[in-house]
């Protein structure tokens, strides 16, 4: 086909006009959410069980065409830009647990699930997780998908060799406090030189913060990161370093993988979902691992939500779909398939969650995860938590990795926090 010059010109003009118009209209028109039949669901890879998504599509097929889209990359920024652009907003959106606090001040972007009758489902879910989705104005912006109870993963043979308790119940009981855990670390290092119970000090600080009910900023927008509860977690991490039970290996590097396979880093304090990472990263270590309680009590890392956006034209139908997807039965499936630990305690007793796991030496891991998940303390998550926790996390890392003087590091962290708090309008 020959393209004439005029034809080319016309095509170019039409194209650019369409571009310009497209940009304008999508900004002004009604939110392009559901158009009656179509409903779009946004989540990320591994954020929901694919089987449950497929089943939901089939189940509601006669009334809605549910289009489930896995959004790659930096999920929160894509969702925020889409919401801010007021175009192509999904009807149902996954909200990551660590981002939840930053959505709460903008609860008006989401449907208040209480208006759809969410309150009668409240008893189905873990209370502390439910509270994380409650905005300052009292509205509920999401239903919990999963939670991330923290446990103590350890290699039993290495513990046995070091003369430490090696059965999960014994480890839970005898290494149940931070003090006994640190003492075990010293013994481990003495009996098997070059072996460390902790990879870095960060996990001690992070899990300790999660065991409390206060974090860095309180409900009235006051900075509380300089108070005793944070300082105690800081001191605990510093002590681990002082006692020499922390490795100098960077978590997540090939170094840490090699050291873990060799049994030099036989222990990890991490969330339930880390079991999947262990299986993926260290397939050769199958059968060597066990799961015990996290020293110092239950803590939580991560765990997400499903929300309905204001762009959704059929919130009732969307609510019906998400409550079905997040039922105890389907959440149990999510755990088996995608390692999503259920936010519904009723799932914990189901037989498919109580099967022995060969990776963990045929241990029934639910006996550890379940009680941990139910006992996680309710903590206020402020939208300013990330910004104001970061300097403290950075400095504890400097103490752990660079050997920075802990007192100087604490002072540096505090002065930086004060500057940031002042800038963000957080009271000091």
């Amino acid at each position: 086909m020959l393209l004439s010059r005029r034809g080319l010109l016309r095509a170019g003009l039409a194209g650019s006009a369409a571009m310009a118009l497209g940009g304008l209209t999508s900004g002004c028109a009604v939110p392009t959410g559901s158009t009656g039949r179509n409903m779009v669901l946004w989540y990320w890879s591994g954020g929901l069980s694919d089987t449950v998504v497929e089943k939901a599509k089939a189940r509601y097929d006669d009334t809605v065409t549910l289009e489930a889209q896995q959004i790659g990359g930096y999920y929160r920024s894509k969702l925020i830009t889409t919401l801010a652009g007021r175009a192509h907003i999904p009807d149902i959106a996954g909200l990551k647990g660590e981002d939840m606090a930053s959505y709460l001040p903008n609860a008006d972007q989401f449907v208040d699930l209480r208006t759809l009758g969410a309150d009668r489902l409240k008893s189905r879910y873990l209370d502390w997780k439910w509270q994380q989705a409650v905005a300052p104005d009292g509205s509920l912006i999401g239903l919990p998908i999963d939670v991330g109870p923290v446990v103590h993963y350890y290699q039993s043979a290495v513990f046995e060799k070091a003369g430490l308790p090696s059965e999960p119940d014994d480890v839970s009981a005898e290494l149940g406090t931070w003090e006994s855990f640190f003492a075990a670390g010293e013994q481990l290092k003495k009996r098997i030189p070059g072996t460390f119970i902790l990879t870095d000090v960060g996990s001690v600080f992070e899990m300790s913060i999660g065991q409390g009910t206060d974090r860095f900023v309180d409900e009235d927008r006051n900075f509380i990161g300089d108070q005793e509860h944070v300082r105690a977690c800081w001191d605990r991490a510093v002590e681990a370093k002082r006692r020499g039970i922390v490795s100098d290996i960077v978590t997540g590097t090939p170094d840490s993988i090699a050291a873990t396979v060799k049994g030099r880093l036989p222990s990890q304090l991490n969330a339930s979902w880390a079991a999947g990472d262990l299986k993926l990263q260290f397939p050769k270590t199958e059968g060597r691992w066990r799961v015990a309680n996290c020293p110092g009590g239950p803590s939580n890392v991560g765990g997400s939500f499903l929300a309905i956006t204001k762009a959704c034209r059929e919130p009732e139908r969307a609510f019906e779909i998400i409550t079905w997807m997040l039922s105890p039965e389907n959440q149990a499936h999510g755990f088996v398939e995608a390692g999503l630990f259920p936010s519904t305690p009723a799932s914990y007793a189901m037989s498919k969650l109580r099967e022995p796991d060969p990776f963990f030496g045929d241990q029934i891991t639910m006996d550890v995860y379940g009680p941990a998940a139910e006992q996680i303390p309710v903590a206020h998550n402020s939208p300013y938590d990330i910004a104001l926790g970061q300097p403290i996390r950075d400095e504890i890392k400097n103490v752990g990795v660079l050997g920075k003087d802990p007192e100087k590091a604490w002072r540096d962290a505090m002065s930086k926090c004060r500057r940031i708090a002042d800038h963000l309008g957080v009271n000091l």
């Binding site: 571009m19 930096y74 903008n106 100098d248 978590t251 997540g252 590097t253 090939p254 990330i386 800038h423």
Partner: protein, 320 residues
């Protein structure tokens, strides 16, 4: 008084004064303007408007969703006193210098070697260019294992020659060297190809004349090749400055860990946190879009400064 006879000249042909209709003048060329309009419209929509919006944003506080709050110059005031921002500029420049100078040296050596008669020239050219088109994420993962403290290739080499191992990704200087090495590896081949193109434009007679005058290969290189390669060298320097000041993916992927800490922190003591990484952290980790925009404009000013320096270098060459 002699009167100048009036020569009856035929009236000079008065050029008909053009009727100036500026509007019509532009409009009469509407086809041409229409033809080039797609670029300008696209640039307006996806270039100029966002740039303008980011300037507007830098005078506000905004969490990305809620209402914007006028903040005046406070974001910039905070930026000027922000030690983290200044240290990120320092990191960027140090990493850039650590990467660029070895890179230019290696590229030049490679190019000179490729320029001399070798077999399989094209194979080498292809091989040297390959790092530049390899996915930066894959490269960073490989370099992560190269620079591992206990089981890394780099430390194995150091120990083989009897040196102590270095905690590359755990010390401020180690991090900078690791990131710079990655960038050097990635860009050496690309620049060698450009140098090679430059070398091939140097007339052969010059070398012949030099040889006749008794110049050795070293003298030839410094007296003939290098001066004639100066424009190419400047081009390489400018390009590497632009890419160096924008370095983001290299430290981000090399230094990220699978813990729940920020992926944009740049390792211990933020030693690998470049300007763009800092911008990203402020904007998307902290949801502080107003301050992020101010940081972006701070980066812009740094880039402008370096462009001026580059421009001055080129100017001086012109005056000579």
């Amino acid at each position: 008084m002699a009167t100048v006879p009036v020569v009856d000249r035929p009236p000079a042909p008065v050029a008909e004064a053009p009727v100036v209709h500026p509007k019509k003048g532009i409009l009469s060329h509407w086809r041409l303007y229409a033809a080039i309009s797609p670029f300008y419209l696209l640039f307006l929509a996806f270039g100029l408007v966002p740039v303008g919006f980011s300037l507007f944003l830098s005078f506000h506080r905004w969490d990305g969703l809620g209402s914007m709050e006028w903040a005046g110059l406070s974001q910039y005031k905070y930026l000027l006193a922000d030690a983290d921002f200044w240290s990120s500029i320092g990191n960027t420049l140090i990493i850039w210098a650590l990467a660029t100078f070895p890179m230019i040296f290696l590229a030049m050596v490679t190019a000179v070697m490729l320029n001399s008669a070798v077999r399989f020239k094209n194979v080498y050219r292809f091989a040297y260019f390959l790092p530049n088109v390899t996915s930066i994420v894959a490269v960073a993962i490989i370099f992560g294992s190269v620079f591992s403290t206990n089981f890394g290739l780099m430390n194995a080499l150091l120990q083989a020659v009897g040196l102590d191992q270095v905690a590359w990704l755990n010390t401020p200087w180690g991090i900078k060297v690791a990131v710079a090495t990655l960038m050097t590896w990635q860009w050496t081949g690309y620049n060698a190809i450009i140098f090679l193109a430059g070398l091939q434009t140097v007339p052969g007679e010059l070398y012949e004349a030099a040889r006749m005058d008794g110049a050795g290969p070293v003298q030839t290189f410094f007296r003939i090749t290098l001066p004639l390669m100066r424009p190419v060298l400047l081009f390489v320097l400018v390009v590497s400055t632009i890419t160096g000041l924008q370095s983001f993916a290299e430290p981000q992927v090399l230094l990220q860990t699978n813990t729940n800490e920020s992926a944009f922190a740049g390792g211990p003591d933020h030693a690998g946190r470049t300007m763009v990484l800092y911008f990203f952290q402020q904007t998307f980790d902290n949801n502080d879009f107003g301050y992020g925009a101010a940081v972006a404009w701070g980066i812009f000013l740094v880039v402008v400064l370096f462009s001026i320096i580059n421009w001055r270098l080129v100017q001086r060459r012109g005056e000579e």
